[in-house]
């Protein structure tokens, strides 16, 4: 199974696409959660379970949107590539490693695209859950969730910096700055 996945990744040259989807949608998830958390922080007297429900709803919507949109677009793209190869080979390739890769890769890419924002969101929401179970935290839950979101966005920046070969700290800081600017805009709109 794992070997088939590696073969499919190699055949379809999808490493870059998977990496892009993971970062882009993970970034979407982190920024969405950050926006919601800042928004709730600016509102007064919102109960913790309401915040968790709203954020979880957004996380599920991001996951479903990520899975379905990536699956539909990748399936179409990979089928087009397979048909072009079949025309060149003058043969049906459905039962070959190329045919299997065409079926497996859209599913894998879709899962990465959907799970990336979902897992990032769950991580950011973890202090809210901890607080709802009365687990002691070093900071209030919303501030801690905000901090985790910043750290995750910094990590995404560092990862992108390593790929592109630029200074990791500058790359991480740049992405974190986007999060801070987003938070500032939400604060200003709520004034």
């Amino acid at each position: 199974m794992f070997r088939q996945l590696i073969t499919s990744l190699d055949l379809t040259e999808s490493h870059g696409i998977v990496r892009r989807y993971f970062v882009v949608n993970g970034f979407d998830g982190a920024l969405t959660m950050l926006g919601l958390i800042v928004g709730f922080y600016m509102s007064e007297h919102v109960e913790l379970n309401v915040i968790i429900s709203a954020c979880l709803g957004a996380a599920v919507a991001l996951a479903v949107s990520g899975v379905s949109s990536a699956y539909v677009s990748e399936k179409a793209e990979k089928q087009k590539e397979l048909r072009e190869l079949e025309q060149a080979m003058i043969e049906n390739l459905d039962e070959t490693i190329h045919g299997r890769a065409t079926r497996v890769m859209p599913l894998f890419v879709a899962l990465v695209n959907g799970l990336s924002p979902f897992l990032v969101s769950l991580l950011i929401l973890s202090p809210l859950w901890a607080a709802s179970f009365s687990i002691a935290l070093p900071l209030p839950p919303l501030q801690m969730a905000f901090g985790i979101a910043l750290v995750i966005m910094f990590a995404f920046g560092v990862y992108l910096g390593r790929i592109s070969g630029i200074n990791w700290f500058w790359a991480g800081f740049r992405v974190m700055l986007i999060a801070l600017v987003t938070g500032a805009i939400i604060v200003m709109l709520n004034q």
Partner: protein
């Protein structure tokens, strides 16, 4: 006993898997064999390769199935070596 010792095949294959991966995957299905692959022509999406497979007892059907599994197609069998190791019995 009749055994196939060598086959030379003209094969059309997609660029991926590349020659090294193609020959290695084929070798996994043909134990105790020596495989030589040389590219004879390259097109936009495909390439023609000449496969020379030598071994003590080659299973042609297995070779063919593996080539097809990787998306290749055998255009022609250009050379074969077949050995009959059974004793000759004259019935006359």
């Amino acid at each position: 006993m009749i055994t196939v010792k060598k086959v030379v095949l003209d094969v059309l294959k997609p660029h991926k898997p590349n020659g090294l991966e193609f020959a290695t995957l084929l070798s996994e299905k043909c134990p105790e064999s020596l495989i030589n692959l040389s590219v004879s022509a390259v097109d936009e999406n495909t390439e023609s390769v000449v496969l020379v497979i030598e071994g003590d007892s080659l299973e042609y059907e297995r070779i063919l199935a593996t080539i097809q599994e990787m998306g290749g197609s055998v255009h022609s069998i250009d050379e074969v070596e077949v050995l009959n190791s059974s004793e000759h019995r004259d019935t006359d």
